[in-house]
């Protein structure tokens, strides 16, 4: 249980912070205004990427702050899950930072899947341009018509037909589907309902321009479309791709998903804690600068108590996330299920709580786009649902606890 950051981590962390101070923080407010101007909500088909993002991506790549999430020493930075965790936290201070370092979901998860399970042809076609930041990708999992918290409900199908597989179904909340550079999706679907529970599903690579793929709309989360990414609803009707687009073999979907979700949840949680630190910093700033009844807000009521409780909550959740990351590195994600579930409950709830307090201190400004708080609230709220809702993770933890109890 050694959470000491490696020299590599310390070095990257220092440089990330410097890069963000120099290049991201100063442009952030303007970026959001410009992005809203460029990409008004109604017309997602015309969304475009603000030029500054591409410029900063070039800078980040030149600075070697690129693909840090990928454990591979050559393609990424050779960092373990635990090594990368503090870097994900730093990136969490800004909503636009992860993409600038090519470390944003869902591309990171997709790159990991291709890295671990892709054929060399798949890697060449899809992984390389993703690693270069030239294209974006999508992960299609959640469906509108069933409770996706229970994977066995999944209705989309991926069925072999000669040299092809045929995909049918409807997916939504597929992040990145509105992005002008989004080129393909990894789609998960049911292949064989009679197979053993964890061998029923498959994952397949589907270029978004394949006939039968219809992107119907982008979904706002609390009014925010997250342009130019977007969270899309997409229909697959008789979509046919060659079998060589299947990742692993038909029936491997669940196995691949599990591997994908371990580190990905660490990333999500660490970014959430970075966001919580950002929100706490905003709380402190407002609390110090704004005066009511003759005192800075921080000196009023229980506001300093809240600071203490938020500090405790963030620090506890960070240590728990380090612990889960460390365990993934030690024994693999499959043996760290309860720990991963624990942080997936803890970290987003901490963020939601801290953001709610910060909003309260900011008053009207806290609800508007003059502060990042509504975006951080949406991030927290979505994260309590995405990648398994709280209830499913609590059930996993309880199941493991019960097993431990029975063995004891």
């Amino acid at each position: 249980m050694d959470f000491t950051p490696s020299d590599n981590t310390l070095k990257f962390r220092k440089r990330l912070i410097a890069f963000m101070r120099e290049h991201i923080e100063p442009i952030e407010t303007n970026y959001h205004k410009e992005n809203r101007r460029l990409n008004p909500d109604g017309n997602w088909r015309d969304w475009q990427v603000a030029p500054i993002i591409e410029e900063l991506k070039v800078k980040a790549k030149e600075a070697g702050l690129w693909n840090l999430f990928l454990p591979d020493a050559k393609l990424g930075a050779g960092l373990s899950t635990l090594d990368y965790a503090p870097l994900a936290e730093v990136m969490g201070h800004s909503i636009i930072a992860p993409e600038i370092f090519n470390c944003n979901a869902p591309d990171t998860g997709n790159m990991e899947v291709l890295y671990h399970f892709g054929t060399s042809q798949q890697k060449q076609t899809w992984l390389t341009p993703l690693l270069n930041g030239e294209i974006r990708s999508v992960f299609c999992m959640t469906e509108p018509d069933v409770a996706s918290s229970d994977a066995t409900n999944m209705q989309a199908s991926i069925v072999a037909d000669g040299d092809d597989v045929v995909i049918q179904g409807r997916k939504w909340w597929s992040t990145g589907l509105g992005h002008p550079n989004a080129k393909f999706a990894i789609v998960m679907g049911l292949t064989d309902a009679d197979a053993p529970k964890h061998q029923r599903h498959s994952m397949v690579l589907v270029p978004l321009d394949t006939p039968g793929v219809t992107i119907e709309r982008m979904l706002p989360a609390f009014g925010e479309y997250d342009a130019p990414y977007g969270h899309g609803e997409v229909l697959f009707e008789n979509v046919r791709v060659p079998k060589t687009n299947v990742i692993g073999a038909l029936g491997d979907g669940f196995k691949i998903a599990q591997g994908r979700l371990g580190p990905g949840r660490i990333h999500h949680c660490m970014r959430a804690l970075g966001a919580a630190e950002k929100a706490l910093q905003l709380y402190m700033r407002r609390g110090q600068d704004r005066i009511a009844f003759g005192k800075p807000l921080l000196q009023l009521n229980g506001n300093l108590e809240r600071v203490a409780d938020m500090r405790i909550a963030i620090d506890q959740a960070r240590l728990l996330t380090f612990y889960a990351a460390w365990k993934i590195d030690q024994v693999g994600a499959m043996k760290a299920l309860a720990e991963i579930s624990a942080i997936k409950v803890a970290a987003p709830n901490v963020l939601q709580k801290v953001v709610d307090e910060a909003i309260q201190l900011y008053g009207g400004a806290g609800m508007s786009q003059d502060t990042p708080l509504p975006a951080l609230y949406a991030m927290a709220r979505a994260l309590r649902i995405a990648d398994g809702p709280d209830a499913v993770h609590r059930a996993t933890i309880a199941k493991v606890e019960l097993a431990k109890y029975r063995e004891a």
Copy 2:
């Protein structure tokens, strides 16, 4: 402490429910789509009212479901604060209902101010068209640059100059400022910083087309602009109106504000509880209809416990609001300050909690505009800030409690 609904209340309640079932519920989803199409966020200067709203207003007026909030038997329905409370709850089931019955904030509060404190000329000019639903109005109180929770911070000024008064300052979160029919604002500002604390401020009627009035932008709350109302930021530069536009006398602002806020908070809280009932109903529906792990969601985990806790919370807050309404009717708002503050803390927090639980059960759908939940969340979150943030109301309650303790 008799909360028995009057015959009038029962009669109006029955008719309101019927009207909403017949005319509002069926069109609501389409209305929101149409409204978003008509009024894309970017162009508030072109906002318009969807025709269906005006049609339904005519129907509601014909049905006698009009201005029910106003205690006057002739201009309104002669209902006491307590009588009206259950009607406000019913209207809270739909976000668009209050306007259809000409019972929406801030117009109700402005009508009350004019009704109680307006000159006959002011009434004729402003109250009559408001009561007829022909125009909309705005209340300008909160300012961006100071903690408006502390009214003594207010920087906008209203100063006499000959037969005029001159208004200077900046206000924001002025609801209704984007409405095409918005004709005037009641502006609160500082007249005499050296007067006794509660005689420093004035309220003045300012037509929105007065030279010097610049509406700068509409503010989104959690991404929602609430078109065609909007929450605006407005600059008053050397704005000059005749002294006859002052409500009451210069220095009466605080006194008028207090009277305005009592019943208004009852309305807000009852609508919030109506919204909470709506959210609970959605929770039950999703919980019954959606299946995971072989069971309706309601049968999983602690979801039925949550139903019980939400039911308790809503019922308690409703009774407390009835109590505050009853007390206003008995002894006036000034002697019911602690009770009004109590519901202002209780009701919005109940709504926020219930909505949060409902979102969790709906998953992705709960964050999108496919459900009213994000709008209800924004309503709850805003209401914990508007009309005094939770902290200010808690301070009022504690102050009264301390006084009681000292007397005992």
Copy 3:
């Protein structure tokens, strides 16, 4: 929904408060010391009633403050459930007050059972001396070996045998079993496991000196034996009483229990709220009188916020209890199940919360018998278990809510 206190209630309330100020408050601290001296924990068989209690009972009876709980106008004061509620709250300010007014559990519930369901012989033998305060009684329901939250688990049996019934089984947490004046118990047990669910159980009157009745021990709740009452564990072995001791008929147990529990829960909850007011008063006192860091504790941290939250919580729970009482009076306890369950969850939790805060402000003194706080904590904690644990009541509320949803 008229909660206006009747003239009778107002009159009795005034006199109760005066009696408590004059006779109970001044002696309370000494009473507890004396009671602990008289009745050291180890020797419950020698417990005795402190003479002051009997003296005050005489005074209370003379003052007409006697059996106020009983709806009968002749035997009691003719008060409805709602009428009595505010009086129960006043009695809740002191742990010893209820007995002094002959309004303490479980005697009140037992008197109600006898009043409503007893034969005239049973009334003469048992009810009359109870109403006179000459004897005490016990209610034997909960069993140690099964989850008593589920009444169908009950193992004790009451079986007819000729002219007798025979009782077998073990009960515990039978309050009053240690009292020197305890003469009989009402025992609930299983008569016919094959009967319809609500006709399986019976209630029978068992004199405590009947052969086969063995009181094994008194149970402390958080170290407190509540001498000279005590909460006992008792074994019934082949205990034989005549059939004339059965209350109602064999199989009527459940029906009688339901009737018993409605008003009884109102009493419990109102006393709990009285106790919460007492604890809040102690909080205020300590908060005003004790100085740290140069200020009264109340002025530090979030302590005034807590005052506000406690005030809101108490007032809400009180109104909800009035509502449940009113509903019992209107439609009977069986049709007010959800409302009764709601207060049974709400009120004890409010008390527990307020007491916990008060303990925190008192520091060490709050944990010791120098303050009533540990006794109030035990009261709250026990009440979340007794008469159905929180979970069972939440289930009832959710069940009713679900039925309402399905009908809507």
Copy 4:
């Protein structure tokens, strides 16, 4: 940030667990009965130590499981704060275990003080017999008449007079004062009110048989006297001891106290978390074994969710405590103030929450001495007050956070 347990820790942990399984768990229930028989609450002057305790102390000493808390390699086991933390957790599984391993408060803190600051004569006289477990000791800090949360309130005085110092004042909640082997107290008092804030107080060794020392009573915490230790109230009237009994110099009290409290709080918190694990284990056991409505309690309502939340809470608090321990080892307690305060808030609150849930599942049994739950509740509740109440620790955390914010 390496929390990997050392080989020493692993070895001791294994042996501690084995010792507790073999020697402590089997006798615990009987011990408590016997202890209550031996030491009825009323007569603390006659309290005695149950022979089994002394027997087990001998066994523990022989097994080398003795004084593990002391960092000294010769007198203790040479364990760092972090090394010892997991051992304190194991000891926390049983309320009697710490003493058996000579690792119980307040003796550990007193030994640390003497070890770090004692003269060789003081060590010989007091430390050696303490390390041998031959005598017990007391720490007199808290006073009944002032808010001891604010150390500057302290009224007891320690004043030089010739070769002596004279102690005046009243202390309470002095743990161990009722122990038959208690030989001396370390008393903290005011020496010079005009000195700089942190140089006003002194600590002095006072044999309990010194003239002028009057132990007035033992205080129960939630009805529990914790015999044969007890928490006492003691009066010091003109108590005169030689200056050689002063620890360090006059005026060093605060400095010594700070050093004492760092590791001591780690011990308290880890024991609290061990107790929380014990309570969670009881929760699981009851939840599995007890059946209601046809299912084990664990399968009902939100009980499995609670398991998950308790697991998350315990694991988070443990990691935070490891972190605080690690920081003490790295930079000393004075630079780890915020971290120590954080765990002092977090751990006892986790314990209180878990115990409360366990009590609810146990019903009546959970409130009685048939389970350790009331004792664990008292432990949690007391720990939220002792060594600084939650509020003081929250203030420390907020202060450090504010300083960090200002520097950033």
